[in-house]
């Protein structure tokens, strides 16, 4: 079981409390598709994704980014059992969506960077460490049902 200090719980809850899901979710997914273009392979049905401008302007990507970010709410509400919280979602990504689980880490890194750009130096090293610890637990949970 993952141990969380009080400080880490406060930091993570604080980040979510101030999160604009539509803005940050969209930005994080767009950034992932632009910085790591091989992730585009999972979005064949999303319309025009031919260049960075098209990706950023694509409303389906923006909506999907928001959806993904809301998916993290589950982990926030169940921080002491993130592993089991994502069993079904992990199966979905493995069996149906067939997403390489290494890609989860790439999206997580992009999300951290979008939050850093949003918060500036308020995103302190301590906050970054707690936030990345949280995301790495989520990423690990999402990869568990791959066999």
């Amino acid at each position: 079981m993952v141990e969380w200090t009080d400080s880490e719980r406060t930091i993570i809850n604080g980040i979510f409390a101030n999160l604009n899901y539509e803005d940050i979710g969209a930005k994080a997914l767009c950034r992932c598709l632009i910085v790591y273009p091989w992730t585009l392979r999972y979005f064949g049905a999303f319309g025009n994704l031919y260049n960075a401008e098209a990706i950023i302007a694509n409303p389906m990507i923006a909506a999907h980014g928001t959806k993904i970010l809301h998916g993290l709410d589950r982990a926030l509400k169940n921080m002491d059992d993130i592993k089991n919280t994502y069993t079904t979602l992990s199966e979905l990504h493995s069996e149906k969506l067939r997403v390489d689980p290494d890609n989860f880490r790439l999206l997580a890194d992009c999300l951290s960077i979008v939050i850093a750009a949003e918060m500036g130096y308020e995103f302190t090293p301590e906050m970054q460490a707690a936030w990345q610890k949280f995301l790495s637990v989520v990423v690990s949970a999402l990869g568990r049902q791959y066999h």
């Binding site: 910085v35 960075a52 960077i113 130096y121 970054q128």
Partner: protein, 141 residues
């Protein structure tokens, strides 16, 4: 790998960062030590607490080396030759730490540049830092 436009963008950004090399470098290092505590093992001889002068000195040295490499990306191995030897035969840093540092440098740049750290700039910077780290590790084996 890097287009002409990307190389110009990268050279431009690092030139603008040179005057604040110590702040940028110290911030990236502190982020790495906080998020990836294993990386501290290579710096047991330094004071790694926030605002430590050691962080600023070391951070500045690293940022200036990266900025120097950014001036002539096509010939990174030439600029990095002495540092390659240092990292391979003396420091012997596990190369996974280069990835950790690159990521933290990207976070620092995001904090410093905000919206100006666009996805396109991020992509170019990530490619450059990966190439830099790869050249730095060339003599490891």
């Amino acid at each position: 790998m890097l287009s002409k436009k990307e190389k110009e963008l990268i050279a431009n950004v690092w030139e603008r960062l040179t005057p604040v090399a110590d702040d940028i470098g110290a911030d990236a290092l502190l982020r790495m030590f906080t998020t990836f505590p294993g990386s501290k093992s290579y710096f047991s001889h330094l004071d790694l607490r926030p605002r430590s002068p050691h962080l600023k000195t070391r951070g500045k040295r690293i940022v200036l080396a990266i900025a120097e490499g950014a001036k002539d990306i096509d010939h990174l191995a030439v600029a990095l030759a002495p540092l390659q030897t240092l990292h391979a035969y003396r420091l012997r840093i596990d190369p996974s730490n280069f990835k950790h540092f690159s990521h933290c440098m990207l976070v620092t740049l995001a904090c410093y540049l905000g919206d100006r750290f666009t996805p396109v700039m991020h992509a170019a910077m990530d490619k450059f830092l990966s190439a830099f780290a790869a050249v730095l590790a060339e003599k490891f084996r």
